[in-house]
Symmetry: C2
Subunit: 321 residues, 2 copies
């Protein structure tokens, strides 16, 4: 039976999986992306991880290797300018793996991989126009147009997190102001929470914590227990997300929007204001078509499974053989 | 030699052309879309226009008919809910023409046709990711993704004019507030001009005209003669357009944006603020890729030629045989 090796390179962990055509993960391993804190150490851990998953005698069943990573240029097969990886400069990861393993190697950015995974095995199954919004430290989007990943000219499309949501708004790490991800992402929701304490007069149960220890998980938990500033932090973030998803719907007319990533796990505290703001801002034409769904796979599995579809589908877009 | 009949149905005029594969318009006629003010009168004028362009003995050279119109559903071959056409309700225009002429008939919305025309014969020639922004009474966008027209789920994508540009901003004809086209379109620029007179203290040379007679052509002419409120009307519109085109670039990573339509004919008075605001709001990654260009064909010719490409290309998207 045909199998693929999937590699999901993240800012914290790198996951490796052996996947079959049905999307079953047969075996899996994880290592800390920063372990050893160098490019050489990263590849040492990657190679030994692969070797542990696939024995030499079963290596002939592997038809290819699919990789997803942030900050990559799929058309050139390289990881480039990745500030949150120990892979500085330009790293020709496709060539490195293709030469080492003599297999076809495919590369895709992480949000696009998540979109492919949800399309093949998750909540977007059978849909041709949809987006997976990844709500993590930042905000990304994998966008499928007419059944294919939208990559743009060189693989830099889908930067929904850097849409200007508030003119002259919050300072973003990208150097500009008011980017959507400064309001809705793990860091954005924490900023919403602090802004609530700055502006409001309502106390929070989190006020005894050092600010550095306040996370969106804690804000989410407090919100579920009725903490007003925490609830507002998600409500403000959700509403601003919904308003901008309405703009996205007017441009793309998709069938579904999937909210994935750690932040989406909080559930209806985020989904309700997002969906309300989305529908309040839609022209009637779009209302019957669009649905907002959670991820069926979880953000990490979605990307890992999506990377395997690169191998099985050998799609023109989103890869570098 | 293979020829196509192109039909560009507009809110004012309907144009019919006989086009060859090189994009040459061999013969052309125009009638007022509202002449007779009924669906039957419209089709009578359309049929007689076609019959005048193509003699019975040369009809065998026609390989198909391409139509573009506002408010159409290409996947169903119908014009639907067209408030600015004498074609109320659902009009199965593809079937009507296919039955009458026994030819393949293709349908596409007007902005998408303009984008196809610019791609085949105009300033987007050879590009795979670009948009044609049509600046007329409203603001439309034909968006090409990876070489194909983006239609969305049912042909309703590309509504750039209804992106919310200013929260709780100007009332839009669509029922919502702050849509981009209330600031940048023929009506939008006139509203910018009136807002300048409301807010500013600078006199305009157009103040002796009845408000109903003030058009964007007159505002454009006054602007070229140094009229401050007129210049500001274009500057404000151009800047807000540029800011939102920056968002579009972050989502799509296109190679070019073509500004077409009557309003774009004013030239640098509009292009300069648009381009400045676009580049001020772009992340550095995109700056080398993107260019902003005028239409090479003019909005009307672009759509008419684009409709002919539907016939010659027989593309899956954007048609109904």
């Amino acid at each position: 039976m045909k199998k693929a090796i999937s590699i999901d390179i993240g800012g914290t962990n790198t996951k490796i999986a052996l996947v079959n055509e049905e999307g079953q993960i047969l075996n899996k391993s994880v290592f800390s992306t920063w372990k050893g804190n160098s490019k050489n150490a990263f590849f040492d851990h990657l190679f030994s991880g692969i070797n542990e998953l696939v024995s030499p005698e079963s290596f002939h069943q592997i038809i290819g290797i699919g990789i997803d990573a942030p900050s990559c240029v799929p058309s050139e097969g390289i990881i480039k300018g990745a500030s949150n990886l120990p892979l500085k400069g330009e790293v020709p990861i496709v060539d490195i793996l293709a030469i080492k393993y003599k297999k076809a190697v495919f590369l895709c950015n992480d949000a696009n991989a998540a979109a492919l995974g949800e399309g093949k095995f998750g909540n977007a199954h059978g849909l041709k126009n949809y987006a997976v919004i990844t709500l993590g430290t930042g905000l990304g989007a994998g966008i499928i147009v007419n059944g294919n990943v939208m990559t743009g000219y060189s693989g830099l499309s889908g930067e929904l997190g850097h849409i200007i949501a508030v003119k002259n708004g919050r300072q973003c790490g990208c150097g500009r102001k008011g980017c959507l991800e400064t309001y809705i992402s793990a860091t954005g929701v924490k900023r919403n929470f602090l802004a609530q304490l700055a502006e409001g007069q309502v106390k929070s149960t989190l006020e005894d914590l050092p600010i550095s220890e306040i996370t969106t998980e804690k804000i989410g938990k407090a919100a579920k227990n009725g903490d007003i500033p925490s609830l507002k932090a998600f409500e403000i973030g959700g509403r601003i997300l919904g308003e901008h998803l309405a703009n996205y719907v007017h441009l793309f007319e998709p069938e579904a929007i999937i909210l994935a990533g750690g932040l989406a796990d909080v559930g209806e505290i985020l989904f309700t204001p997002t969906i309300n703001a989305l529908f309040e801002n839609l022209l009637p034409n779009y209302i019957d078509t669009i649905q907002v769904l959670p991820s069926a796979l979880g953000a990490n599995e979605a990307a890992l499974l999506g990377a395997s579809t690169l191998v099985f589908n050998k799609k023109e877009t989103c890869h570098q053989p």
